[in-house]
């Protein structure tokens, strides 16, 4: 038995109408829910294919959205905020622009904000200006030699170039791992800043670099709470680290934040 195409069109029309009412915000009571439910009920026994049943389910879901909108509509109309939109529109059309402006000025409480430059910022800007080369010098072509494309070194490259020794690096890495284990012996976790920041700034940067290695290897786990701006370290399990998906976390360390931490505790 061939199904009349019109039944499919009925479903598509119901879905379309419900979507328009929902997106355009028009009166949901314009949709004759009762009639559409009867249509769906009438056609339901004819559906055999999955696509047809999916279409039927979609139409039913759209009708339920309309019923939800009708509930919201009634609640809104019953609230004290409700004013007939047609009355408001009529008033706007009939009012003079001056009267509309006056109404807004009486209900307007503008945001107060300041724009100010601090003496420190002026001094920074002055230094910047003094150190800034003239445009023709900044954009002058490089004098001679072949221009190398920028690239990056990894640890193996540095070892190959004899910039660092692999053994030495492993020793330093082991020592920081041992230190972290000792700290974690008495505590469940250690705050990242408490562990990284030490008296000497260079040493602080080195500790951050070494810790990032331990985190990459999975020996240490870095937990970051972006809302609280907290980061802390716990011990990891190397076997598990290969199974868990990796992600990058960026923690900046600058001289200012280090100084602030050293002066009186946490950085802001």
């Amino acid at each position: 038995m061939t199904k009349p195409k019109v039944t499919h069109d009925d479903l598509l029309r119901i879905i379309d109408l419900c979507r328009v009412v929902e997106t355009r915000g028009s009166d949901p009571f314009e949709v004759d829910v009762q009639r559409y439910l009867t249509t769906l009920k009438k056609h339901l026994p004819r559906w055999e294919l999955l696509d047809e049943l999916m279409l039927d389910a979609e139409a039913l879901s759209q009708i339920t959205s309309i019923i939800r909108l009708q509930k919201k509509w009634i609640a809104y109309r019953a609230s004290s905020l409700y004013v007939d939109p047609l009355v408001v529109e009529l008033k706007i059309r009939l009012s003079a622009p001056e009267a509309l402006a006056k109404a807004l000025s009486k209900s307007w409480h503008p945001i107060v904000s300041l724009e100010q430059i601090s003496p420190k910022r002026i001094s920074d800007a002055f230094d910047y200006w003094n150190n800034l080369l003239p445009l023709d010098e900044r954009f002058a072509p490089l004098s001679q030699g072949e221009l190398m494309q920028p690239g990056s070194f990894d640890f193996e490259d540095l070892v190959r170039l004899k910039a660092v020794s692999a053994e030495e690096f492993k020793d330093v890495l082991n020592s920081i791992m041992l230190e972290l284990k000792e700290r974690l012996g008495s505590e469940e976790r250690v705050e990242y800043e408490d562990f990284i920041y030490v008296e000497d700034f260079q040493e602080t940067v080195l500790r951050a670099y070494l810790t990032s290695f331990l985190v990459s290897e999975g020996a240490v786990i870095l937990h970051v709470n972006p809302l609280e701006e907290e980061a802390y370290l716990t011990l990891g399990h190397l076997e598990e680290s290969s199974r868990t998906p990796s992600s990058s976390k960026v923690i900046t360390i600058d001289h200012e934040s280090w100084k602030m931490y050293m002066a009186g505790g946490k950085t802001e």
Partner: protein
């Protein structure tokens, strides 16, 4: 009894809170709850309450606008408050002369008033085309287009990809929408005066 050191700490936090709230640091004014929390600590709402009473004497008040559609302070969770935007606004409305000196043209203000009242009467959203048709009765096309785009840019309105206009965060922060609608409804029109 409050110790002196506690008092000094509260004063320091009050200063910090007022700086954060008043100094515009981003493109948009105001500061997010989590930024206040980071600078003032977990009890930042208590500091804001103290600041609120200080600002009250200057005719200013702290306003909180929650993400999403007009959530109220009583309904908000602490996560909502962290994500909310905090502003300092003028407590009283603007006088006519203040309005003129603030740089707004009277017809631009009228466009904003009509747009907000129209959208508000339609449960907070309306197709841009409908708003434009309404405004073009009294203002030239270029002025309507320019103003609607400007209000969207400044946060008074929000425009979706399907050309629907919504009430923006700035309207929720600055404009008492109920008062505006009531005042527009109470405005005597040309026809009213003829009847009288």
């Amino acid at each position: 009894m409050v110790r002196l050191s506690d008092e000094a700490e509260v004063q320091r936090k009050l200063k910090k809170a007022s700086q954060l709230l008043l100094l515009q640091r981003h493109r948009s004014p105001g500061v997010k709850g989590w930024e206040l929390k980071r600078a003032l600590g977990k009890e930042y709402l208590k500091i804001i309450d103290v600041l609120r009473s200080e600002l009250d004497r200057l005719g200013l008040e702290v306003k909180i606008v929650y993400d999403g559609s007009g959530k109220k302070a009583q309904e908000a969770s602490s996560e909502d408050t962290d994500r909310a935007r905090f502003f300092v606004v003028m407590k009283g409305p603007l006088s006519q002369s203040e309005m003129v000196s603030s740089g707004w043209r009277i017809d631009d203000v009228a466009v904003l008033a009509a747009t907000i009242a129209y959208i508000n009467s339609r449960q907070g959203k309306a197709p841009r085309k409908q708003v434009e048709d309404l405004l073009r009765e009294k203002f030239p096309r270029w002025k309507v287009d320019m103003n609607l785009d400007r209000f969207v840019r400044r946060g008074y309105l929000l425009e979706s990809e399907d050309d629907m206009l919504y009430i923006g965060w700035r309207t929720r922060a600055e404009i008492d929408q109920k008062t505006l609608t009531n005042l527009i409804l109470a405005t005597p029109t040309g026809q009213d005066s003829q009847v009288k």
